[in-house]
Symmetry: C2
Subunit: 244 residues, 2 copies
DNA sequence: TTTTTTCATTTGTCTGACATTTGGGCTTGC
DNA sequence: GCAAGCCCAAATGTCAGACAAATGAAAAAA
């Protein structure tokens, strides 16, 4: 009747689960020091190695940090967005690359969420956001830019757009969606013609954002979705042709 | 110049990073067996304990699974949504509970993403989704329902709505947003009056979904956002009054 | 051929040891 | 009294070796 994750699992997994629950439930608060490894080993009646394996599991999730030395130990970590970002991106990338998710589905989700940012971004965008976006547009206009660099700039452009919404939770979620698609996007060959199309839409988005026109941003994003989907299809076709 | 995460860190963190990179980059494919712990210890020139700590880190992120016995070992895990869900929810919950994010911001992000699902859900909703939603509405009408059970039902209702969009990536992202807010929502006392308001909007959403009316769904969600924000404010006020 | 037994392999856990880091307290010198 | 430097205890990081337990495959028995 217990949680399946704590039932028949390893000792280190069970112990990690107990500590994790204590953190999530607030019984252990931020920056609080956990008992030393030796003490934990006593409390749980296991060896120090087992405790250490449990602590490493928690460290991998950024739930705790460890410090060496006399006043060292394991401390409950204040989870920061930067920490969460990395995991979010890794997870999203893997979900896509392991074919658990198709390009179409990922694309749809990404642009659906990006459109969700549009009204907020149109309202709150500052001059810095517009500057970031225009800087990326300038980069994307360089004809000698590699496909990979073009993708990176594309990601940076869209992150600026999302950041303009001024909601870190949305930025966090979108980071996974956008950067997770990067490996697949990198397989696309951006012809001069396709860059021109994308660039046109990027300019359209930025201009619309500047004049606080949420509807125009949404529309341009939808057009970009259609076009991205089309480019993605070409990769799928090329890939299956190579395999078949 | 290397990645900061692999520079001055522990051996076990470095080794975990190397293996993680290999998985993300596709040099290790799904279901592939890693060398045994003893072999890895040899390859990396460290002790078995250190290798084990590295493997536990990866296991905590669901990147590998281990199996005992003669043909056992560590295998690259096919990352499934169910695995990713749990981490996503844990992370979101912590980001909120540690006050890294305010209720308002979380609420805004949640409903922005939920509105992003509305057009897709209105188009694709099946009879099962409508049935799930109506079942939750029925539960929410029971006057003797506890506040906590009401919250659970609320979450279930919104998950059905999101699932109706038929996009697992959106479901995955929303799971974190919606369930992460649950602890804070649980602090709200749902009066008869507030339940009535919420219920009315839930019915409105479901009816609109049934007749494929995306605009009406969006509108009702916006109304629900306003109302949820209002209820949340009361909790904030009550909480600060208790502390001050 | 089918069943049983044996066995090698691998992970899980424990014990004990030493290295390294680090802050606090003590000593020393002024 | 005060500051600088030294020493040391405590804690994590790493290592080596051992045994327990699980497990599938090969060998042996029916």
């Amino acid at each position: 009747m217990k949680k399946s994750s704590e039932n028949a699992a390893d000792l280190s997994a069970r112990i990690a689960g107990e500590i994790r629950d204590a953190i999530v439930a607030g019984r252990l608060i931020v920056d609080e020091r956990l008992p030393s490894e030796a003490e934990l080993a006593n409390q749980f009646n296991v060896s120090r190695s087992t405790v250490r394996e449990a602590l490493k599991r928690l460290a991998a999730q950024s739930l705790i940090r460890t410090q060496r030395g006399a006043t060292g130990g394991a401390f409950v970590n204040r989870l920061r967005f930067e920490d969460a970002y990395g995991q979010q991106i890794t997870t999203s990338t893997l979900l896509l690359s392991m074919n658990e998710v198709s390009f179409d589905v990922a694309c749809e989700a990404r642009f659906a969420m990006e459109r969700a940012c549009a009204p907020l971004a149109a309202e709150r965008r500052g001059p810095d956001h517009l500057a970031r976006m225009r800087a990326e547009i300038a980069r994307q206009q360089q004809p000698d830019l590699s496909d990979e660099a073009f993708c990176d700039s594309d990601v940076a452009f869209h992150r600026a757009l999302v950041d303009a919404a001024g909601n870190p939770v949305l930025s966090y979620q979108l980071a996974g969606a956008v950067e997770g698609m990067l490996p697949l996007m990198n397989m696309i060959t951006f012809t001069a013609r396709s860059r021109e199309n994308i660039l046109r839409l990027h300019i359209e988005i930025t201009d619309a954002l500047e004049r606080h026109d949420a509807d125009a941003v949404t529309e341009a994003l939808s057009a970009l979705e259609t076009y991205t989907l089309q480019l993605g299809q070409q990769v799928i076709v090329a890939r299956s042709a190579r395999n078949g």
